[in-house]
């Protein structure tokens, strides 16, 4: 089997398995959250029931271009994860992710609804908050491995986390922002808090909301892949370890989500930049010193 066929197989597996895994993670997350609140909680397959129902509802489009924008959003999110799992350029995939978010922004603002516009501008603020750390993460990987390609990054003797502990901490911090979990769910207010209705997704209903949900699942899997990237090295044992670490990180996100109230946007930016500069910046300076 040549390299091309392997790549195609991996890509197909990713496109099919990622939403299943993402949906399961979502379901497990909702169950764990419910248990944390001493509730029984929905069944683990609940997210799939939700998706099925959304697909069966009558479509409503507030603006004609919304369908196209949402599909583009999904496409670019899938592309981002695909590039990571196919061992391509990390930096490039991060730029594609930003493009995807722009499509979501337009899908929300094109409707002209004040609530989804507020949500969309807040989404941009979230981007401002997490983007520096994402860039520093890529740079950190580059300094350690001498390449932006994920295929090279997983091919080292020691796990990158040994060199990048500060960047790892900063990345976990911005993960909460990226996954739109409390205390940083400022762009999509969660179910019980409805002061901006549903934020960026206010005007996204029925099938378009199903597309949004799917994109979120792909995104979760891709972000967990990024976490795993910190752990994986040449040794095959590191792969199960990476999966366990990714699960632990997901659990930590749920815990933070369940025991914190929403923060103001400006506080979020200040805090995330502070963590980025202190943890990731110091880590990077040390790296430059070590690898000089």
């Amino acid at each position: 089997m040549n390299e091309m066929t392997v790549k195609i197989i991996v890509a197909v597996c990713y496109v099919i398995l990622a939403p299943i895994l993402g949906g399961l993670l979502d379901g497990i997350g909702r169950k764990i959250s419910a248990r944390m609140q001493r509730r029984v909680g929905p069944p683990i397959l609940q997210p799939f029931h939700d998706l099925g129902k959304l697909l069966h509802k009558d479509p409503i489009h507030v603006a004609p271009s919304q369908n196209f924008l949402m599909m583009s959003y999904l496409f670019f999110v899938i592309l981002t994860g695909g590039m990571i799992f196919l061992g391509m350029d990390l930096l490039m995939s991060m730029f594609i992710l930003s493009t995807a978010v722009m499509f979501l922004y337009f899908a929300a603002t094109v409707t002209g609804s004040p609530y989804s516009t507020i949500g969309a501008t807040r989404e941009l603020l979230q981007m401002v908050a997490y983007e520096p750390c994402v860039l520093l993460t890529c740079v950190g990987f580059y300094i350690v491995r001498g390449s932006f390609e994920t295929a090279e990054i997983i091919n080292g003797d020691i796990s990158p986390i040994a060199y990048l502990p500060g960047i790892f901490v900063a990345f976990i911090f911005i993960l909460t922002i990226k996954m739109r979990k409390s205390p940083f769910d400022i762009s999509t207010s969660h179910h019980p808090n409805q002061e901006i209705v549903r934020g960026i997704t206010s005007e996204i209903g029925a099938k378009n909301f199903a597309v949004f949900t799917l994109a979120e699942w792909y995104e979760t899997v891709f972000l967990m892949g990024m976490v795993a990237l910190f752990i994986v090295n040449k040794n095959p044992i590191s792969i199960p370890v990476a999966i366990v670490v990714a699960f632990l990180v997901y659990f930590l996100e749920l815990l933070i989500d369940n025991c914190s109230a929403r923060m103001k946007a400006d506080k979020m930016i200040k805090l995330s930049w502070m963590v980025t500069i202190i943890a990731a910046g110091a880590n990077l300076l040390a790296l430059i010193y070590i690898f000089k």
């Binding site: 029984v40 609940q46 069966h56 479509p59 507030v62 179910h191 019980p192 996204i204």
Partner: protein, 158 residues
Amino acid sequence: MYNITRSPWVMHYDGSSCNGCDIEVLACLTPVYDAERFGIINTGDPMQADILLVTGGINTQNAPVVKQLYDQMSDPKVVVAVGVCACTGGVFKDCYNILGGADQVIPVDVYVPGCAARPQAIIDGIVKGIGVFQERLEKMEKGELKNQEEKEEAGKEE
């Protein structure tokens, strides 16, 4: 036929109620009753909601609001009136500004009596509503229920 009964998303609208029923609706989501077991989510967005819970009567001010919320929900959709106020106007029935129950402006599928309606009764009402919800989907797929586009066209012809 696809089974959509496992994921009813509820939107709650508070008409001119005394807030007694609203508290009971929220009580359904607490650990004691935990409506999320059935996949029920309390969403604030009509575009994502399947079931409209109305509490309190309809007055001249909120009648257009209820109508608009109902119109923004996508088919299939169900309306559940919670409490005697939403069913008939209740204790406020004879007030000068009250038009009556929710069925004065939108078609109501399930009436949940009580003042205030108990959480058990509300969950029971929603579960009844879920049955109607599935029936609507079946009708919609058979073509018996007009979908959004056909409605828009019919609107244009008028």
